[in-house]
């Protein structure tokens, strides 16, 4: 009898722990999914009005660009800033790097398990389109990738000619289950010119 009670208690404990972790982990995805629609709405308003629009009133970020991956048929809206709170809702453009679509290197970071799942599928030569906040599209092609240690200083490379380029950043290894590792996977894309649209 006593053993049975112990088992129930154990079951409750593990059940509660399991439920808590499931819900907590689920939130991360739910939040990203919920926010996506509102961010997309805010983006549509931004490009039509030319005004920065917060996706929800207390947000401390706003959409700054949209990425389109033609080979993967994915659209991803990029937010301003790459603080943890921002990245929970979508990829963020690192402050201090070139604004998206302007000459220089624009660095955009996203979570490998939510917004930037497709980073590992990109291959050299893959097209990436970027829409800036004026609604204009810019075309890029993936040039290469590398892995860096985020504990070391990293200087965004530049094409050196005033051309625009993108650096997409996510955590490395791409399929690790434990978050917070020091390595980062970087995909570089150079402006290829032309307007697909």
């Amino acid at each position: 009898m006593r053993r049975s009670k112990l088992l129930v208690a154990g079951a409750l404990l593990f059940g509660a722990l399991g439920a808590w972790q499931l819900i907590d982990g689920g939130w991360i995805y739910a939040k990203a999914a919920l926010a996506k629609g509102m961010i997309a709405d805010a983006w549509a308003e931004t490009i039509s009005t030319g005004v920065k629009i917060k996706p929800w009133p207390w947000a401390d970020t706003w959409p700054v660009a949209k990425l389109h991956f033609p080979t993967h048929k994915r659209d991803i809206t990029v937010l301003a800033g790459a603080q943890g709170a921002t990245l929970a809702f979508g990829p963020g453009h690192l402050d201090g790097t070139s604004p998206p679509g302007t000459p220089g290197n624009s660095v955009i970071a996203g979570h490998r398990d939510t917004s930037f799942t497709l980073l590992g599928d990109l291959k050299p030569g893959d097209p990436i389109d970027l829409q800036n906040d004026e609604g204009f599209w810019f075309s890029y092609r993936v040039a290469g990738s590398t892995i860096v240690d985020s504990r070391e200083q990293w200087f965004p490379p530049e094409t050196g000619t005033g051309d625009s380029m993108l650096t997409l950043v996510t955590c490395w290894p791409l399929d690790s289950i434990v978050p917070g590792g020091p390595m980062r996977y970087l995909v570089f894309a150079e402006e290829s010119g032309g307007n697909h649209r």
């Binding site: 972790q21 929800w56 401390d60 990245l87 604004p99 990738s145 892995i147 490395w172 390595m183």
Partner: protein, 738 residues
């Protein structure tokens, strides 16, 4: 569910999630890259500039570039010819590429490529098509050149098949209407990033993008091209001449940053040259000329007829407000100190306000209201700006810290309501990030109480509610100033304060009389902006259909305060001037681009821009100029090397990069997992000399970037959760069996 309820529901859910997230997640220690014991710049690991390691010692020098600038000014229009000479110092065939700035309103409409005694004239094409033509010519071994626009003021030229030790010159022509302000014409030619050739010797070694084999290694004598003497870098290959025909006698002519030589300019005609043949290009060239008082008519009209269409450029300067008798002001500053302003925003706001206080004049009166959940004002009503009140105000501002809610209404009402004598200007300067929800109510309050006062909103911080502030300023008949960067506080505030010191010319409108039926007029800008002190109305007009008779009249009207103003010009006054049509087209493209902001359809805007640009041969976002030589210059079996012309940092900019830092760190030994791809870095990294940065590129600082965490704990948590549930159910099962 209605959309709004839907939205509220979403907000609520999201709020819950964010709150829970904050509550449950333990604070993470922030790792900084500069912590003691971490790696410094000198031991960045396993850097790999691919060609630096694999093929040591292989380099070819970048092409040299010389620039000659020839500016012809006729009245309000400047026609500028920029001649770029690309010199190939090597024994190989080269392609050169060069990115350069031009004035923001430059209308680039012509290019000529000169090789030896031959000249090739450019054609305007859609951007993609132009690129195709260019690369076909390049592959075929023909000399070719291409001009593209990247931003309204950033252009690039590419020149293909520059022979060994040969020179190709390209002449770019652009038109520009000159700025007229405070009785003076201004001409600016951006030279900051004009090439000061020869950077530090090491930097202009460019790695060869291929692995040479035996046969071409012999041919490639360029491998041994000597490095240029760095001392040559200190001289500047830019030469500049201005042919001035102001059309009116002048009272003054001066260059702001350079010594100039000029013949007699009093009659308005002069040839201006730089005092030295070549000057250091570390600052823009700026020329300013002042027409003799009274010689410049208050209205000037220029015309050009192109292909049955008439184009006009009208410049009308309203009489200036009496400067000796500027009305004293009552200024109320309203400062948002709510919690959303915490951090950088409040620092910026304090700085902006302190700066504004410094600019008050003794006969001005002022007050400061700061608010969060409640509004607190410094004085009961406006006080004269004297030593004592200002000292008190500065202290008040310095002691302002951000916290609390945002209750704008009370503060706004307090600033709006108040008595001001009719001889004083009443101005409200509202500094906030505009994080409000009751916008509509506030708009109503503003329109109800604004009367003769003017509301100027100043947006602060990273994400101000610009919609609210723009609209509030519109209703309050003031303007909206956005300060995004703390370094811009002083400049932006100075501009705002100067602008509002004197009453502006408002409600400007253009009317036509005596126009026959069938004439269609297309003026730009569509809506005339308010005019501040000393600014003229500038209107570019196209007339199609049966041309307007010379009896037609243009009337411009507006008001300054309560005093109405109007002026009529008849079209027979118009003086012919070349380039007016180009300027009209450039204005139209600007207007079309601006219409995107107001919700125009991007596809149709693009079509309209392309149509206008092709017709007027303008380089635009979607069109480029391309020129191709008919004959083949390069033997097909000779390789071509693509070289980008290094740009220089503008004066005052410093780059901290060393060759080492420029390397892209590769994977560490400890982590040898192969990334999904390791593509061709060459295309990206082949030219990274350390001095390469232009004014535009300085948006990117040469600073290290802290890469954020790119993963969530989601998968781990879900795994733990599942395991927990599995263990729980196993325990339950086990119990049943027992």
């Amino acid at each position: 569910m209605t959309p709004s309820i839907n939205r509220i529901f979403l907000y609520a859910t999201l709020a819950l999630f964010t709150a829970m997230q904050t509550a449950f997640s333990a604070p993470q220690p922030v790792k900084t890259s500069n912590a003691p014991g971490t790696i410094t710049l000198d031991n960045v690991h396993s850097g790999s500039l691919v060609y630096a390691t694999k093929f040591p010692g292989q380099h070819i020098p970048a092409p040299l570039l010389g620039t000659e600038v020839d500016i012809r000014i006729s009245g309000p229009v400047a026609r500028v010819i920029v001649k770029q000479s690309f010199i190939n110092p090597s024994d190989a065939w080269l392609e050169a590429r060069y990115v350069f700035p031009l004035p923001e309103n430059a209308a680039v409409n012509h290019m000529v490529v000169a090789t030896g005694d031959k000249k090739i004239v450019s054609e305007i094409k859609e951007k993609q098509k132009a690129r195709k033509i260019f690369s076909q010519a390049k592959r075929a071994g023909k000399r070719a050149a291409l001009i593209e626009q990247h931003r309204p003021n950033v252009f690039s030229t590419r020149v293909a098949n520059i022979g060994p030790k040969a020179t190709i010159a390209i002449e770019i022509t652009y038109l520009q209407n000159l700025r007229f302000d405070q009785d003076r014409y201004h001409l600016r030619f951006p030279m900051v990033v004009a090439p000061r050739y020869v950077p530090p010797a090491k930097a202009h070694i460019v790695k060869a993008p291929f692995k040479p084999n035996e046969s071409n290694a012999k041919k490639d004598t360029w491998l041994n091209t000597p490095i240029h003497d760095p001392k040559r870098g200190k001289t500047n290959p830019v030469a500049l001449t201005v042919e001035l025909d102001a059309g009116v006698p002048l009272a003054d002519l001066k260059s702001l940053h350079h010594d100039i030589k000029s013949d007699d300019w009093q009659d308005g005609k002069a040839t201006v040259k730089l005092a030295e043949k070549a000057v250091p290009a570390d600052k823009d060239f700026e020329l300013i000329w002042t027409p003799k008082r009274g010689s410049l008519p208050s209205a000037a009209l220029f015309t050009e007829t192109v292909a049955g269409e008439k184009f006009y450029l009208a410049m009308v300067t309203p009489p200036r407000p009496d400067t000796r008798n500027v009305p004293p002001r009552d200024i109320v500053f309203v400062l948002d100190k709510s919690g959303s302003m915490a951090g950088k925003s409040i620092v910026q706001a304090r700085k902006a306000l302190t700066f504004a206080l410094d600019r008050l004049r003794p006969n001005d009166r002022f007050n400061i209201i700061r608010f969060d959940t409640v509004a607190v004002s410094l004085f009961a009503s406006v006080r004269p700006a004297n030593q004592f009140s200002l000292a008190k105000a500065r202290k008040f501002v310095a002691n302002t810290e951000a916290d609390g809610g945002t209750e704008i209404r009370q503060a706004l009402l307090r600033s709006l309501i108040g008595n001001t004598k009719p001889d004083r200007l009443r101005q409200i300067i509202f500094i906030t990030d505009g994080a409000v929800s009751n916008e509509e109510q506030l708009f109503i309050e503003i329109s109800r109480h604004i009367r003769e006062a003017r509301l100027f909103t100043v947006g602060i911080g990273s994400a101000p509610n610009s919609h609210f502030m723009r609209r509030a300023a519109e209703i309050g008949r003031g303007s909206f100033t956005y300060i995004g960067d703390i370094n811009n506080v002083e400049d932006k505030m100075r501009r705002l304060l100067l602008k509002i010191e004197r009453p502006a010319m408002l409600d400007l409108a253009a009317d036509w009389a005596g126009i026959s039926d069938g004439v269609r007029l297309t003026p730009y800008p569509k809506r005339l902006p308010d005019l501040h002190d000393g600014e003229p109305v500038v209107l570019a007009i196209r007339a199609t259909g049966s041309l307007p008779k010379d009896t037609a009249k243009l009337t411009l009207s507006g008001r300054r305060g309560r005093a109405p103003w109007s002026q009529t010009i008849s079209l027979d006054q118009a003086r012919p001037a070349a380039g007016i049509s180009t300027i009209w087209a450039r204005q139209r493209i600007t207007a079309l681009t601006g219409s995107l902001r107001r919700g125009a359809d991007p596809a149709s805007v693009r079509q309209a821009i392309i149509a206008t640009a092709l017709r007027h041969k303008l380089v635009s976002k979607f069109t480029s100029l391309v020129a191709v030589e008919k004959t083949v210059a390069r033997p097909i079996d000779e390789p071509v090397f693509k070289r980008k012309i290094p740009l220089n940092l503008p004066e005052g900019w410093r780059t901290q990069r060393s060759q080492k830092q420029l390397r892209v760190p590769g994977p560490k030994k400890a982590n040898q997992a192969k990334p999904p791809m390791q593509g061709n870095f060459a295309s990206m990294l082949k030219s990274l000399p350390e001095h390469q940065a232009s004014q535009q590129m300085s948006l990117t600082s040469a600073q290290p970037v802290q890469l954020p965490t790119g993963a969530t704990s989601g998968p781990l948590q879900i795994l733990i959760g599942m395991l927990g549930l599995v263990v729980a159910s196993m325990l339950l099962l086990f119990r049943r069996q027992v």
